[in-house]
Subunit: 911 residues, 2 copies
């Protein structure tokens, strides 16, 4: 028979910290804490596997589990010297979830189980504290009613509020024992009315009901959503921890609190957390009462405080990581309720990893593996620009709950956040957030709450998401019904409505009305710089480049550690206002001669841009892609032209003037020129632009475009090289499907390059001509393509579109249907589809190297900055990844971690 | 030292018929003829390899070739007892091209070489025929001047015409010896003027010049185009045949002619050809004089005729195929100038193969291999419908030069044909065609010439292309300058202009003004039926199905031998006028309930269609694809709506009524309903519809559509099966990219199928649920897809588009640039790209069978009817191909031929 129940505490602990998959994170930690001698309220854990049995068994817990559970209960009663349901000496227990992966607040918890009309009287006698006893019973009925019996929370709150009104009590603690007894009567009536049955007095029914409700909560919507977000499998299940209750609300010698061994926001080595005297744990987390800083516990209960410091320090050493713990002091005695590795911001993760390594607690390798590359994103985001802030109205300062700047239009509900986020950046503003707000928090650029502390739901979740958050900003009034945010500034009332701009700084807690400017982060100093240098040590010769089109971005890229440019999109230069007229003239030309004339105007502009890039990348390669988008992207939109033409006969002077401005032609010419323009635009119109006349296909039809771009590249290279800069141009031909296309374009580039270099006396300049692999056929025939290509760069954006036959723009229309039905494991445009697209990438790398063993291979699609995709690129033997400048450190770290768990990539690259 | 020159004729023949790659087709045949004792004018062949040497050597023939050539010339002079350049007894030779593959008329030829001012006088003396001698010299100067010295033909013709005018000569033969002498003087002046040098009197210079000019003509535009069309490699080169001249123009005892051992148009076993008395060969082929039927030669020169019959009969037996021969009778002596396997129409190819087999000349296997599958197309095309012809005006009857009906708008130049062919079917109408008209002949649906015979350029080329052609229709006047075609009908003049409709029947030679109706071909009788039955014997268990959407097409498909339907596109039913309103109602529905209501209306219609298909395919499988195209294809066009909406405020009553009709709404509702309609149309608008919300993606968003279609399929199956028909439904889910999509849709189909079959008590009905493989990802993950798919059908149209990242519709805009630069070997949408797309197909077949060894695999893209693609499908182990009904026999034959040269496909299919 399988073992389904593990006891812990007292001198009888069956599990340990490694048994997370069986006992869940919480259960394993409770067992581990017991083993290290930490005072933990005894109890037992029903395994995660029972959760699956429960569902397989038609939502019933099997009999043999019940038998083991009651045996464990017997043991617990023995240890505690109390009995569940014993009117004289009642044992009370908590029943909590605990999955193998932390899912904070997603599943249900029931406290004070074991209370009924008889045991509550026994408790009154034992504690001599009727108020506390009745309050516990009241809380238990409410929780059990909500979680097990599915009665809306509001129904209970409503009864509570009514009694408070009646008793003229401002807060809960103003209620007397008699008030609470009256509430209990009302609560029980409510249960009878809603369920048709009395509130269960039988404690075994209470225990079994609570346990099964926890199992069921594994599949509630919040939990399912969280697992999807965090890619946690549905079949892991949750354990149930039944633990004897201890009470932080037994008067002024009792307290409860939560904390971290270090500051989880900054990583600073300071004891960090909050507590409330005479309260139960949920009071702290729910953010209803604003708690006190944990260091003040030293003043209130010095002995317990010192014990807490000693125990938590020991725990951090034991677990070799920052601990997130919960404790309760029951009548001066300290009990540890939970400990686990603490969630932390990216900033804290880096600082703690560096500090722990410097303290000798962990190795350099462990330090590098400790930080999730995605977390770095928080450190690299822009901050509010202090100068620009002067013109904004500061509304106040809340708690700096999750760092980074956020600017957006405000919304007051999660649904509104999701809806509005498609149009503009939004900030979610709430009194406090709850687990069912998650989808809105996900959609928002930042979160502001007027209640709750640093460990409130909003703060914890925001940090996990890397979303800037200011919590507990009590100086602002949030009215979710009228959708207003109110503050008093210099004695005047300021009211913001839905859609108004707001700016907040999650690192300082400051809140501003209006749209702030932001400044860039600096990754070149402090712990981050040290951490990245360690990562780079492990990364070895696997390169990280940046996608940058203009010199400014190239400079940023260098600052973030990019070793070259992996993709410069020359067309981005074509869209410049000073250039577009020449681009259009080129497109509207009717013959090669006129086209060349227009191109000649563009040449010096492109040359200057390229010179800037080469300068910024002194000594590093710069990959420049020849013109890629279809030409119709540069001319007026066809439908707009058609509509304007339809309106023209009846247009008044104002509209005509508007059109003249739009198409840059005199009013008098509209009638004749508009149809002519439409004719050319019609010629350029395509049914499927993604699959149309673009990329190398343009250069094949109009060789003079490729020629001009090659000239600009090599003239710039010569010009900059003459000033002593080391220039390494890599010319990339896009959208190659067959080697014949590359042959055609390479010949043009090579001819121009040789000509320019010859003339400059620089024939020895090292340059490469290669291709983007972004069409399946190129990948499938990569052995042939590599006969001409001196490098490959995977354009995984387009390669994903063509391999999946899926237009990124059009996918948004039905992506929701695909997400809901779990058709794809992840958004294939964010995370490289290794099974399909990845298979093609690997094939192409292998085929390419079979022809040209020293083929340089990289990736320049957006996947190049996504950690799991970077790992894939490393493992298939690429030489580098290229991503947006701000993601360069993320890619550097992801590559280092890939190297530390090398899947063979290093071997392939150097084979 | 390599042997570069091979002598033939007399008693000294060095080559033979197998040496085509060395001697070219003509050279090898001349040698082979000599070996079989046929009287051939002696000469020698300079090998094809010398052609390459010529170009490698900087357009110069190497010295060692010259040495061998002059040695062969010595031998030839000895055999003939004449000497090149000998004034007393001059040898004259022809210099002709001859490549390993026949390229009729593409390269240059020079006749009468060896004539100069002195030898012409020797010839006068020897022949006592000054007129003939001077005419030969005149012709030689003209040919040499044009071919070797690059002087325009027109310049000579102009001088000839001037002299004719002066001499009042109507035709060339009216010119006297003195007239011709005068022309020679003018010709020589022209040469001097154009080249700055005298016409070469030195015969060795003549010979070397002519030889090198033939080599150069290998790369003239016509030859390059022809090789591209016929996929002949550029590096094969042409041989040069130097052969002693014989003269058909030495008076009334001389003649020249061309012929076939059987009728190359019908295949009938009749001696067939044409001749002219007192003429040179080119006069016959060029179509300037209309020649006489070859049987009449028996009357004119009975002895020579009998000898010709004996020799050609012997040659047909020797070569075991129909022979296309040229001969000249010089003063009663017969000389064979050439023989080769004759080009023939599809009809003739089939008849000849069947007859030759029945005659015991070739085996059944050889017979099946003798017919190019593409040639069958000619037999399968519709004919002019005799009933409908009554309403058209018959203009006359020309020679039935290439069979089949053609209906189109007339054009008068090759360029116009190419230009207009994109808009409507065109017929090319010319006095006569020339090799530089090839591109126009290619573009035209049919060809009509007013001059020339059955072996004129137009006739030969049209038969090769399988294009219907009526030649030598002298009763119609063609004026290419004024672009008119004139005929006299019942004494009245009828004038057709460019763009007017014309209908012609290449099998009868009839020509009609107007647009005729056509009737279907009947493949189920005669030689074709016998031939196809032989092909089917070799084809074995490799199936051929048809793509058919409606019962009528299904019946045609059966008639053409289809063994099932490989693709029924259900959406083609959606476009029916009686259905579109319900389809639109379904699309415009705002919720599932309304959508289901509209679908319920479509259900009986779809059911009836499917029932018809099942009935027609009794006992054979029917693959039905669920809805594929994006929904916006069923609603009004977005741009049109936008324009109408822009016009609406100023629209007059007429326009409003027009719009009301267009959008099927009352005029009064336009103002309100049009914007609403546009809103929905905008929602459906896609950037890249090819890669958008279509295929299985629709069924995933709207499961009720798949459900309705599955219901229609299985209710139809039940209904028809109850009548005793054997029904095998195969439901195909389109656009699968991942197995999860198929899982989703398969579950719906399976549920409905089981429900319908259960209810009908037909649970044992055999049916399959499978998928179209048309997205690279599906191919790459075919092992996983095959976990769910019970069959694969390759949709190579879309698979080509996605694998090559190339939209078929948009490719037309730049396909010319790609053709000119030879980027693709062939149009990838006509001929399967085996290197790229094919690699993916093979991968998918192998992966799919690795999961499901008995996986049924077919192809339903248009490539399924293209012979080389069918062979590929056979070789990768597919079970069947599916193509349009009219191409079914082509696919059957191609498959049989593939089986006869089995590349391992049979093994794979049965593994």
């Amino acid at each position: 028979m399988s073992k389904h129940v593990y006891s812990f505490g007292g001198d009888y602990t069956e599990g340990d910290g490694k048994m997370k998959n069986i006992l869940g994170g919480k259960g394993a930690n409770l067992a581990e804490m017991c083993r290290t001698g930490v005072p933990v309220p005894p109890g037992f854990t029903i395994t995660c596997q029972v959760c699956n049995l429960y569902f397989e068994n038609g939502n019933k817990t099997p009999k043999e589990v019940n038998e083991q559970m009651y045996a464990a209960l017997d043991k617990l009663e023995e240890t505690m010297g109390k009995k569940l349901g014993d009117a004289a000496n009642p044992l009370l227990v908590s029943v909590r979830s605990g999955a193998p992966f932390s899912m904070p607040g997603m599943m249900d918890t029931i406290l004070n189980l074991g209370l009924n009309d008889k045991t509550v009287e026994g408790m009154v006698k034992k504690t001599s504290n009727p108020r506390f006893s009745y309050d516990s019973y009241r809380r238990f009925i409410q929780m059990f009613g909500n979680v097990v019996l599915d009665i809306e929370k509001d129904e209970f709150e409503h009864l509570l509020d009514a009694q408070k009104k009646k008793a003229k009590a401002k807060v809960d603690t103003d209620l007397t024992a008699d008030d609470l007894k009256a509430i209990i009567v009302e609560y029980k009536k409510l249960v009878k009315k809603k369920t048709g049955k009395d509130f269960p007095q039988e404690v075994k029914a209470q225990l079994e009901g609570a346990r099964d409700a926890v199992f069921r909560s594994w599949f509630n919507d919040r939990a399912k959503f969280y697992r999807k977000q965090n890619k946690i499998a549905d079949d892991l299940g949750t354990a149930v921890n039944v633990q004897s209750m201890v009470f932080g609300n037994m008067g002024d010698t009792s307290a409860t609190g939560v904390g971290f061994t270090r500051n989880p926001a900054t990583g600073d080595n300071e004891f960090y957390g909050e507590f409330l005297v005479n309260a139960q744990g949920e009071d702290v987390v729910a953010g209803i009462r604003t708690p006190r800083a944990i260091v003040q516990l030293g003043d209130v209960m010095p002995e317990a405080y010192q014990q807490l410091r000693d125990i938590t320090a020991k725990l951090e050493k034991h677990y070799r990581d920052i601990q997130d713990f919960e404790f309760t002091i029951e009548d001066t005695k300290l009990w540890m309720l939970q400990t686990r590795n603490g969630k932390r911001t990216g900033k804290a993760a880096v600082k703690i990893a560096v500090d722990h390594c410097n303290e000798g607690l962990i190795s350099k390798k462990e330090a590098v593996l400790r930080v999730d590359p995605n977390q770095l994103d928080q450190l690299l985001h822009p901050m509010l620009d202090p100068k620009a802030l002067k013109s904004l109205v500061k509304l106040g300062k809340g708690l700096p709950a999750s760092p980074g700047a956020a600017v957006g239009k405000i919304v007051f509900t999660a649904d509104a956040a999701v809806e509005q986020a498609t149009k503009a950046p939004v900030l979610l503003v709430r009194k406090e957030t709850a687990p069912d707000d998650i989808h809105g928090m996900e959609a928002a650029k930042g979160i502001l709450t007027s209640r709750g502390g640093m460990t409130s739901h909003a703060a914890v979740v925001a940090r996990g998401m890397g979303t800037p958050c200011v919590a507990g900003a009590e100086m602002v009034g949030v009215d979710e019904r009228s959708k207003t945010l109110t503050a008093t500034v210099d004695g005047k009332k300021v009211v913001l409505k839905e859609g108004d701009w707001l700016s907040l700084d999650g690192s300082t807690g400051e809140i501003f009305a209006g749209q702030a400017q932001t400044t860039e982060a600096d990754p070149s100093s402090g712990e981050l710089a040290q951490f990245m240098s360690w990562a780079d040590e492990f990364r070895g010769n696997f390169g990280v480049r940046a996608n940058a089109d203009i010199p400014r971005d190239a400079k940023t890229a260098r600052k973030f550690g990019a070793q070259g440019i992996g993709l410069c999109r020359t067309e981005h230069m074509f869209f410049g206002e000073d250039r577009l007229p020449f681009v259009q003239a080129m497109i509207l030309s009717e013959n090669e001669k006129d086209r060349r004339k227009a191109l000649l105007k563009l040449l010096p502009m492109q040359r200057a841009d390229f010179a800037g890039l080469f300068k910024a990348m002194d000594g590093f390669p710069v990959v420049i892609r020849t013109l890629d988008p279809p030409l119709h992207e540069f001319v007026p939109k066809r439908e707009e032209l058609m509509v304007d033409l339809a309106k023209l006969p009846h247009a008044d002077a104002k509209l005509k003037k508007e059109m003249a401005g739009r198409y840059k032609m005199p009013v008098g010419e509209l009638k004749k020129a508009l149809p002519a323009l439409l004719k050319r635009v019609e010629e350029l119109h395509e049914f499927n632009p993604m699959l149309g006349h673009r990329g190398c296909r343009l250069g094949i039809t109009y060789p003079e475009i490729t020629e001009m771009q090659a000239r600009a590249i090599f003239e710039a290279a010569v010009q900059v090289a003459k000033k002593g800069v080391k220039v390494i141009p890599e010319v990339m031909i896009p959208l190659i499907g067959s080697v014949a296309e590359l042959e055609n374009q390479k010949a043009i580039v090579k001819r121009v390059a040789e000509e320019v270099l010859e003339k400059a006396g620089m024939k020895k300049m090292h340059y490469l001509i290669g291709t983007m692999i972004e069409i399946p056929r190129a990948a499938l025939t990569a052995d042939k393509v590599a006969q001409e290509a001196e490098f490959f760069s995977f354009g995984t954006n387009d390669l994903t579109q063509t391999t999946m036959g899926l237009s990124r723009d059009d996918y948004t229309k039905f992506s929701k249907d695909y997400e809901n039905r779990k058709i794809f494991k992840a958004d294939p445009f964010a995370v490289l589809d290794q099974e399909g697209v990845g298979k093609l990438v690997k094939l192409a790398v292998d085929l390419g190297r079979s022809t040209r063993p020293d083929l340089e291979v990289g990736i320049c699609g957006e996947h190049g900055g996504e950690p799991s995709s970077v790992e894939f690129c490393y493992n298939v033997g690429m030489n580098y990844v290229s991503c947006s400048p701000f993601r360069v450190p993320i890619a550097r770290l992801a590559a280092a971690q890939a190297a530390l768990s090398d899947g063979g990539g290093e071997k392939m690259r150097t084979a």
